[in-house]
Subunit: 358 residues, 2 copies
């Protein structure tokens, strides 16, 4: 039996509701494939602040580094909103990404045929959408040098930070995107603001020259403002989207409106080697916590990504995805995707049905 | 008779189709109000590059500065796409904004009841939307210091530019937004990325403290990723949106999906004193140029904004807006907003119908 160590970081709020469901799915799908998964739960975010006074404890980072994959819930809680930045829960996320050097963020957006009515767009617009956003994760304006606060000549307070991309940074994320596009429908759309930002100009130049190595991939470039429009009016045109950390944050949340719920969206954050981070997109959702109403499918689909991209266990990944589809076929829906004629269930019950389908 | 000088800058592509329509509307509505409008046409963009080798000729800028208002079409043409940045048509736009010190960009998004079927969203989502985006226009990452290209320690090429906001810059645009919100439904939503960007942290702090001066305005703050989602799923919640130059670029194009066509969207760019720039949002649209098919309503509604915000001639502004509504009531539609049962017309004919309605 192959043995894997999974670091489990439920974090804050609904992370604690959805991660147990994802762990159950991992365990069962894994054992059906003869895999021996060991889970270790570690504190992160507000929970860690309460426990040891920092959002990302040394031990959590070390153990995450030594694991085969990290399953993350969510970080953030209103109680900590006024903390200084280095003591905010989300700082843990930025530190974990940096610590594990996970520079590529994969955010697939799929409209399940069973859920097309949940879309916030028109049904005929959303139908059949199946796209993958590849977001650069550790560079750009998020990882700004220099950054900070200063006083200008007029005695005026200024907040500033530097957006930058280097050729190496662009190349390594572009390589990931080209390789993934090749395994998909071989269409890659790179999104930038090359009319204004120097980082984007370099970005476009490097992507254009890498395209020569991938003659089979059809490459296009869109400005971020046009891309935002196109995601709403013609999302089916997209296969693989490549973009930077800031634009990727916006586009991937915007794209969540196509399936209609962030409760359906998984993500993976990968580096060159070492463990990846697998995480539902939705966040800690203080308003919904403790009610057993949130949708665990984003976490469960993140577990599938953990198998596929983290452990290279494709058949275990497929098992989970098929189970999700089966649960939807059987009519179970959490509140965020509930429509007349389907069975409204809570988070736990949805988890039980996933296990049944598995 | 009050006399006004209007600088008319049709620029490139469809700018040359829609601006004549807007000029006709200005002239007629103005004369009905007893205003004496003088128009002077000046080159900008690709047209100016052809003529004198720079995108914004000195004379155009000087005359624009000395005018009472600037009516702008669009700049940009594929022929110039590979020019160095200082010789690109869109550089003219950035230079004109800087030269006229127009730091606030007003982009209203209104769903005309006659056109609710044109929306790219669901009809029930789009119905009744009436919001105003106030975008900071001359600071932030667009006006970056320092910016450029460099080589890092690893010998790697780097493109970089600095996002910054000063307290004074935030305060002056926030003041505009609070004042406009007060004249509307007194709801102001400020959009930033205060969890990551220092400029945004300062932005949020200043907006929060200015809110104390406007107890009658209900203020909220959203992160850009959430704002993008909310514009698609619950746009009616918004009244006035205040944001920076980069996020405003993205949000205002995204918001164009609510009425369903950029061909309907006007804009105004205003400074503290001096002439404003009034401009349809749609750009030069090379694909559509020369076919007499584009929608002149964005330009005509920009003319209405010119009266309202540029010349403080509210009744002339109203005349134009009522004429637009009347033309729509009479069933005329350009291609971008055409639906079964309405009369498909070209740009010129739409212009004639506007005059008739006036
Ligand atoms: C919490 C925040 C820093 C984070 C980001 O913007 O990366 C989140 O929005 C995300 O998209 O994962
Ligand atoms: C052409 C470009 C520089 C411009 C901008 O981003 O400001 C345009 O997209 C706009 O929104 O007016």
């Amino acid at each position: 039996n192959k043995r894997y160590n999974i670091a489990v970081l439920p974090g804050d709020g609904v992370g604690n509701e959805v991660i147990p469901v994802a762990v159950d799915a991992l365990r069962l799908a894994g054992s059906l494939e003869g895999l021996d998964l060991r889970f270790e739960e570690l504190p992160i975010g507000g929970v860690a602040l309460d426990l040891v006074g920092v959002p990302l404890p040394e031990e959590t980072l070390t153990k995450a580094k030594n694991s085969d994959a990290v399953l993350l819930g969510a970080v953030g809680w209103p109680k900590w909103d006024n903390n200084p930045k280095h003591l905010k829960p989300i700082t843990a996320l930025l530190q974990l990404r940096a610590g594990l050097e996970v520079f590529s963020n994969l955010r697939p957006i799929t409209v399940f045929p069973q859920l097309v009515d949940s879309t916030f767009l028109r049904k005929d617009t959303a139908e059949g959408v199946d796209l993958m956003i590849i977001r650069e994760l550790t560079g750009g304006i998020y990882n700004a040098h220099p950054r900070g606060f200063t006083t200008n000549e007029q005695g005026d307070e200024v907040g500033f930070c530097t957006e930058s991309y280097s050729a190496t940074e662009v190349d390594r994320i572009a390589r990931v995107a080209f390789d993934i596009a090749k395994q998909r429908r071989s269409k890659l759309c790179s999104v930038d603001k090359a009319t204004v930002l120097e980082g984007s100009m370099l970005w476009r130049k490097r992507v254009t020259s890498m395209a020569l190595e991938y003659p089979e991939v059809e490459v296009s470039h869109l400005l971020i403002d046009t891309a935002a429009m196109d995601l709403v009016r013609h999302p089916r045109q997209f296969d693989t989207i490549l973009t930077g950390v800031m634009f990727g944050d916006i586009l991937s949340d915007l794209a969540a409106m196509i399936p209609g719920s962030v409760g359906l969206l998984p993500s993976a954050a990968l580096g060159d080697s070492g463990p990846g981070i697998f995480e539902p997109v939705h966040g800690s959702a203080p308003k919904h916590y403790g009610k057993d109403t949130v949708n665990p499918l984003a976490a469960v689909l993140s577990a599938a990504m953990l198998f596929r991209y983290g452990l290279k266990e494709e058949s275990a990944a497929r098992r989970i995805e098929i189970a999700v589809s089966d649960v939807l076929d059987r009519g179970f829906r959490t509140r965020d995707i509930h429509t007349p004629g389907t069975a409204l269930v809570g988070c736990k019950r949805m988890g039980e049905e996933i296990l049944r389908s598995l």
